[in-house]
């Protein structure tokens, strides 16, 4: 009996469709919660060549949802562990593991070798990289993102359809929206959403049904709410990405030079000379600090006020409890300003410091 007989007897697929699947090459970026079910069904379904890129290793907390792994693969690179598992599932297809990080430098060359890209990433910087590299190499991208009990799915860059940037033009700061590691996720959820992605891949290849292009599907596993939102292609966003084509590989620098945020205590800050105090709280928050040495730039306005940062000085960024100030330091770093500290303490301590300082005089 043929391995694919249940496909082949479907008039919508037939031997011809199955041959198409076996001639297709699909790259899955990230072998995590989404990547595992996608890979499992693509391998079982007879996709001729499957690429798996993931730099991460299997840890015990992955096993609740990343169904290609088990006790025997703990500590092993996910791309390599997934390849071994899938080769057992289907030894008639070619599986290539890339046990490395996807970067601007390697993305275009890797993408060129495939027909379809699947996004199983877990952070925004890689997600936008995957989207942009798909636009530049002109590959359809089967996207999904998940949040706790909810998921989104769409197909981008398909027959002049929209891209991820047409849906969300502005890349959120990494960390602004928590991922599964930070807030948890129902184990089954990426299974459901990843399976929807695999389904779109198969439909794309077979050209059957209605490809989920030009709309984003939202699914809530708690109440089975499903919502389809129409998204239009935005030429301006696509063009912006195309404009980076010639310098794309060099864009890595910016991502790689992420440095840790420097945290400072009020005590150490007090002993520093040549510093600029910046209050990043919203202006209506108490206690208000009106002092000539303290500059007020609410976090939300920081990007528009970078010109107020005195580059010859070190900045002490503070807020109510040291959380917004950390975000502020990260924003400055993203704009290549590495001279700032995030204050561990809050505005109350800063006020106390300035009160004492005035008193000393």
């Amino acid at each position: 009996m043929n391995r694919y007989s249940r496909h082949i007897i479907l008039p919508e697929i037939g031997q011809e469709g199955q041959d198409r699947l076996s001639k297709s090459k699909v790259l899955v970026v990230g072998a995590g919660g989404l990547g595992c079910p996608v890979l499992q069904y693509l391998a079982a379904g007879g996709i001729g060549k499957i690429g798996i890129i993931d730099f991460d290793t299997v840890s015990e907390s992955n096993l609740q949802r990343q169904i290609l792994f088990g006790a025997s693969t703990l500590g092993i690179n996910k791309a390599i562990a997934a390849k071994a598992k899938l080769e057992d599932l289907n030894n008639t297809i070619l599986i290539k593991a890339y046990p490395e990080k996807l970067t601007h430098k390697n993305a275009l060359a890797i993408f060129e070798d495939y027909d379809i890209i699947v996004d199983g990433t877990d952070n925004f910087s890689t997600r936008y990289l995957v989207n942009d590299a798909s636009i530049i190499t002109n590959k359809p991208l089967v996207y999904a993102g998940i949040y706790k009990f909810e998921g989104q799915v769409s197909v981008f860059n398909y027959k002049k359809g929209p891209s991820y940037r047409c849906l969300f033009p502005k890349q959120p700061e990494n960390g602004s929206i928590p991922n599964c590691t930070e807030i948890g996720v129902l184990g089954i959820l990426p299974g459901i959403i990843g399976t929807l992605q695999a389904n779109e891949v198969i439909k794309l290849i077979l050209e059957i049904g209605e490809v989920l292009s030009g709309k984003v599907l939202y699914y809530n596993s708690l109440n089975h709410q499903i919502n389809l939102t129409k998204v239009n292609r935005c030429e301006k966003e696509i063009q912006k990405v195309m404009d980076t084509k010639t310098v794309f590989e060099a864009l890595d620098e910016e991502i790689n030079c992420e440095r840790p945020i420097r945290i400072i205590s009020i005590k150490d800050a007090m002993n520093k000379k040549n510093i600029q105090w910046i209050d990043v709280r919203d202006t209506n928050v108490n206690p208000k600090i009106n002092h000539s040495e303290v500059l007020q730039i609410p976090l939300k306005d920081l990007k528009q006020n970078l010109n107020k940062i005195e580059l010859g000085k070190e900045q002490i960024l503070f807020c109510q409890a040291g959380i917004k100030s950390k975000k502020a330091a990260s924003i400055l770093q993203n704009h290549k300003i590495h001279s700032s500290f995030s204050l561990k303490n809050g505005a109350c301590e800063v006020m106390e410091y300035f009160n004492n300082k005035n008193y000393d005089r």
């Binding site: 877990d122 925004f124 997600r127 993102g145 998940i146 602004s176 928590p178 939202y218 389809l228 976090l299």
Partner: protein, 77 residues
């Protein structure tokens, strides 16, 4: 008019509701955002897109439908 607003993902958490009806007398999506920001200040710092009648819409667009969705990006994978 009465609008039905749906909040997805993190937005449902920070507003404390997944759906609500509000009375709206403004004109544009931008007016609607102003009202929502007054009601939920925390929304100001969140990334999201707005859809009306199941289609993504821009700030300048007029509110013409009663079904509104606030759609945030999802990080996880």
């Amino acid at each position: 008019m009465i609008l039905s607003i749906k909040y997805f993902g993190l937005l449902a958490e920070v507003t404390g509701r997944s759906e609500e009806k509000i009375e709206f007398s403004g004109k544009s999506i931008s007016d609607l955002k102003t009202i929502l920001f007054q009601k939920y200040e925390v929304l100001k710092n969140k990334d999201f897109q707005i859809a009306q009648d199941n289609e993504l819409t821009a700030n300048e667009a007029m509110v013409t439908a009663t079904e509104i969705v606030l759609l945030p990006p999802f990080a996880g994978g």
